[in-house]
């Protein structure tokens, strides 16, 4: 059942092209049935999970590799599963309307459903490797969705950036997970969580932790990898709402939360999380405030929320984990809603630039109301769930075991900024003087409003009655992250305390900032433009450019098209390696004992030497060919002299035929000329002499070594008796080792075919026809 639940998205994706033909424009509603059903299914698990029980469902996949399709449902994964399927339901409905009539709607749904399934698999996987499989699948589907408008070069570029960062992080994560497997000896999250191994004392811990952190940070857009997320807004709005705010970007945070109770215990873990989390929070808040495109504003505020989540895991107290879960849920609700609303605005007005909107309250009242509520949650104002979450956040930061004041300052600062951002999102477009927009605005259709409405409503209900979600799942989620049972006891009103005062301060300062925004905006824009030249995104581009430059440099140097250089390298490597090995493993030994040769044998050797040298130095091409013929005669004489008549005959015949072939072919070729410079000739000569010297040394060494007698005595003894032949060489060729000869005649045949086609089949002839 669980397996089906996870994979159903993939299966449905396969059916989309057919369904699209049947369902037509209602496709969104039809497809949304699946996530709706899944939501119901996961909801049905709530009683079990909130009872403190974890579900473990096991399926085999590749047991040899330790890969299994095991799923684990605990509080954390259930919260995520509910968010994914729940928000997914509305996104699918919304997209049907938002992309109505789009030529690629079916393709959109294919990828979207695949993404949803991957995301479910990611949060539900118990197996580390399967988890990673789904993790990478979300990166790829995300890539496909960011680049959905693929004929737009900018969209392709942004998609690549997102993929490159997340997949790069993914690879590091893979190493981290493998190390984790080494440390724990287990492939299963549940086993790792259940064991009381002191992971942080293991030698691999640091490496594993760093790898996991990098993986999670890239996925969850933590500083300095945050830059890809705003660019991912090139995707259609439903994608931004779903992947890049509510679900996928939280995968990294999910992983951190998942592993927190096991990985914690070392300063590296918590300090990294706190530091990068806080930095991300602040950076996100500032950038959200200083942007103008409504989707960018929302994207940066997502960055801020992701930073907050990371920071809270890092703080790691019970309160902080409670705050973490609440921020997670609150953010998913309001940000999903706000993105869909932003899409509605864009859809209706034809622009994404908030400076070009104003006074839309009149033409889009329903949109305005929902946006207003969602913005309240964003700003962390009562009575919405965002308020509850923010208060908890302030409180846990205040009580942080370390860095409490620094974190608090960052939290308040970003809180102030986010209030202003909420103003930008809500007040700026809907109030103030009306402006002319590219399209005549009117309220968004029902399908586009139902999702935001429901999500905002949930935020409101959860705000007013926070004990509801808490008892159902949040407690369980907190427990799974914290590692032991926790009762959250959430409430909207805690009386006047420091967090409330801080909220008040934030509201006040944020409002002032919002008012000042108009004036500040040009300055901020200038600052950001200047900053982008040195920021991490600039680093990304420099990295990509660097790779291209190194690549083309390497290609210029190594793959330069000059055969001589290729061969030079080959020769140097061959003889450098073997020479070095000979020197170190055996030793050089020169031997000048020629006493066992006869003078005429030296005569033959001299002939070979002379022919070779002359063939190499002569400027006469045909002289060279004739000299090669002499070389052949010399070699044949060696064969004959040392008891190989068959070889002698063959060598002579082949030599004659080689000369004939050369003469036939040289007919068309130009005479020798010295093409290379003297320097090149000396260089080549040096290398060639080196190669020859090493070969000689190897031979001299090998001549002294005969570990075993040759197997030839068998052939000599049995040639006549068993194989009925007296010419043992021939018997070997046609009987003992006939397969060699069989191969050899096919080599001949191949050469014939090759020559025939080269001579007869000409490119020119083909182009004519």
């Amino acid at each position: 059942m669980m397996l089906l639940a996870v994979l159903s998205g993939f299966l449905l994706a396969l059916a989309v092209p057919a369904l699209h033909r049947v369902a037509g424009r209602h496709i969104g509603w039809v497809l949304a049935l699946l996530p709706a059903l899944l939501t119901a299914y996961f909801a049905s698990l709530i009683p079990t999970i909130s009872g403190g029980e974890n579900l473990l469902i096991q399926n085999q996949w590749m047991p040899g590799l330790g890969v299994s399709l095991d799923f684990m449902v605990d509080g954390l994964s259930l919260v995520f599963a509910l968010l994914i399927s729940g928000i997914g339901t509305f996104i699918l409905i919304y997209a049907g309307s938002y992309l109505k009539g789009h030529k690629d709607l079916a393709r959109f749904y294919v990828i979207m459903l695949s993404f949803m399934a991957s995301m479910l698999g990611l949060v539900l996987s118990d197996n580390l490797i399967t988890f990673f499989v789904f993790w990478e699948l979300t990166s790829i589907t995300s890539y496909m969705l960011i680049g959905f408008n693929h004929e737009d070069a900018e969209a392709r570029k942004c998609a690549l950036q997102g993929l490159f960062v997340t997949a790069g992080g993914g690879l590091v994560l893979m190493a981290g997970l493998i190390l984790l497997i080494f440390i724990t000896g287990s492939y299963s999250f549940s086993e790792i969580l259940a064991s009381d191994l002191a992971i942080h004392e293991h030698g691999y811990y640091t490496a594993a932790a760093v790898c996991v952190l990098i993986g999670a940070f890239t996925k969850s857009a933590q500083v300095p990898f945050h830059f890809w997320l705003p660019n991912a807004m090139a995707a259609p709005t439903p994608v931004s709402a779903y992947l890049h705010s509510a679900t996928m970007v939280k995968a990294g945070v999910y992983l951190l939360a998942r592993l927190n109770s096991s990985m914690d215990g070392d300063a590296l873990w918590s300090y990294s999380l706190m530091f990068f989390g806080a930095a991300t929070m602040l950076t996100g808040a500032y950038l959200a405030f200083s942007s103008t495109g409504i989707k960018k504003v929302l994207a940066y505020s997502t960055v801020m929320a992701l930073g907050t989540l990371t920071m809270l895991i890092g703080v790691g107290t019970e309160k902080a984990i409670i705050a973490f879960v609440c921020v997670l849920v609150a953010h998913s609700l309001y940000k999903g809603a706000l993105f869909m609303l932003a899409g509605a605005l864009d859809h209706e007005t034809g622009t994404k630039d908030i400076t070009k909107m104003g006074g839309l309250w009149h033409s889009m009242p329903r949109t305005a109301i929902i946006t207003g509520l969602a913005a309240l949650s964003l700003a962390g104002l009562p009575p919405l769930f965002g308020f509850v979450a923010k208060e908890l956040m302030f409180e846990s930061v205040l009580n942080s075991p370390s860095w409490s004041w620094g974190l608090l300052a960052a939290a308040v600062a970003s809180s102030i900024l986010v209030v202003a951002v909420a103003g930008l999102v809500f007040l700026k477009p809907f109030f103030g003087p009306a402006r002319t927009t590219p399209k005549q605005p009117h309220d968004a259709p029902f399908a586009m409003l139902i999702g935001p409405a429901v999500l905002t409503l949930l935020a409101l209900i959860f705000g007013v009655a926070p004990f509801l979600p808490a008892t159902f799942v949040l407690d369980a989620a907190v427990s799974s992250v914290y590692g032991s049972g926790v009762q959250t006891a959430l409430a909207l009103w805690h009386g006047v305390n420091i967090p409330l005062i801080l909220s008040g301060v934030s509201l006040l300062a944020g409002s002032l900032l919002f008012i000042a925004w108009q004036g500040l905006h040009p300055t901020l824009h200038a600052v950001n433009t200047a900053g982008s030249r040195v920021g991490p995104e600039a680093g990304y581009f420099r990295f990509m450019l660097g790779i291209t430059q190194i690549a083309s440099w390497q290609t210029r140097v190594l793959q330069n098209g000059v055969l001589g250089v290729y061969l030079l390298i080959l020769v140097l490597v061959t003889f450098g390696l073997t020479g070095y090995t000979l020197l170190t493993r055996h030793g050089f030994q020169l031997d000048f004992d020629f006493s066992n040769g006869y003078f005429y044998e030296f005569g033959i050797a001299l002939l070979i030497v002379a022919a070779t040298v002359f063939a190499s130095v002569t400027r006469s091409r045909l002289g060279s060919v004739a000299s090669v013929g002499v070389l052949g005669f010399g070699v044949a004489l060696i064969f004959i002299h040392f008891s190989a008549p068959d070889l002698g005959i063959t060598q002579l015949l082949v030599e004659t035929l080689t000369v004939i072939l050369l003469v036939l072919v040289l007919f068309k070729l130009p005479p020798f000329v010295n093409l290379s410079s003297p320097w090149e000739r000396y260089r080549d000569l040096t290398v060639a002499v080196f190669a020859g010297a090493i070969m000689t040394l190897i031979m001299l060494a090998a001549l002294d070594i005969q570990y075993f007698d040759s197997i030839s005595s068998y052939y000599i003894e049995n040639s006549y008796g068993l194989a009925f032949g007296k010419n043992i060489v021939n018997v070997i060729l046609v009987d003992f080792r006939q397969l060699d000869t069989l191969g050899e005649i096919f080599v001949l045949g191949l050469a014939a075919m090759g020559v025939y086609s080269m001579v007869k089949l000409r490119a020119e002839d083909q182009h004519k026809s």
Binding site: I649, L657, I660, V665, N727, V734, Q738, I745, A752, K760
Partner: protein
């Protein structure tokens, strides 16, 4: 310059049969003395090369009657065919099979897959070299 001479033409006709005969001699005797299919094939090829040099590629084609490519194919198929009897009798590929064919009078003619194989080599070498030479010469013309 003036090409082709009467002397070369006539000599080619006289020498060529000697070469061909000697090539067959080398082929058949190769199992016991220097020679064999490869050397025999090369000598046979020399014979046709001589003819080609004297009379040109076109005439050599006519003399051969079948195309060098077909000689090559025949050689390869002969080589492969020599593997079949062993497979047929359930032995490992390339296991030599010997048959003694009784001749009228006394004596036996020894036939073997080894001989078939050597003939295959002979033909393959001949076919290959003739392909080289004839196609190259034709490309000059």
């Amino acid at each position: 310059m003036k090409t082709n001479t009467l002397i070369l033409h006539t000599a080619a006709l006289a020498i060529m049969p000697l070469q061909l005969m000697f090539s067959i001699f080398l082929l058949l005797r190769g199992h016991d003395e220097p020679g064999g299919g490869f050397i025999g094939g090369l000598v046979a090829a020399s014979a046709f090369v001589l003819y080609a040099f004297a009379f040109g590629a076109e005439s050599t084609r006519k003399l051969l009657r079948i195309s060098p490519r077909d000689i090559l194919a025949a050689g390869l198929l002969f080589g492969l065919a020599s593997t079949i009897p062993a497979l047929w009798s359930g032995q490992a590929m390339l296991t030599a099979q010997w048959w003694e064919v009784p001749l009228p009078g006394e004596g036996y003619l020894k036939l073997s897959t080894v001989l078939i194989f050597d003939i295959g080599v002979y033909l393959a070498v001949l076919g290959t070299l003739m392909t080289f030479v004839i196609s190259l010469m034709e490309s000059e013309e």
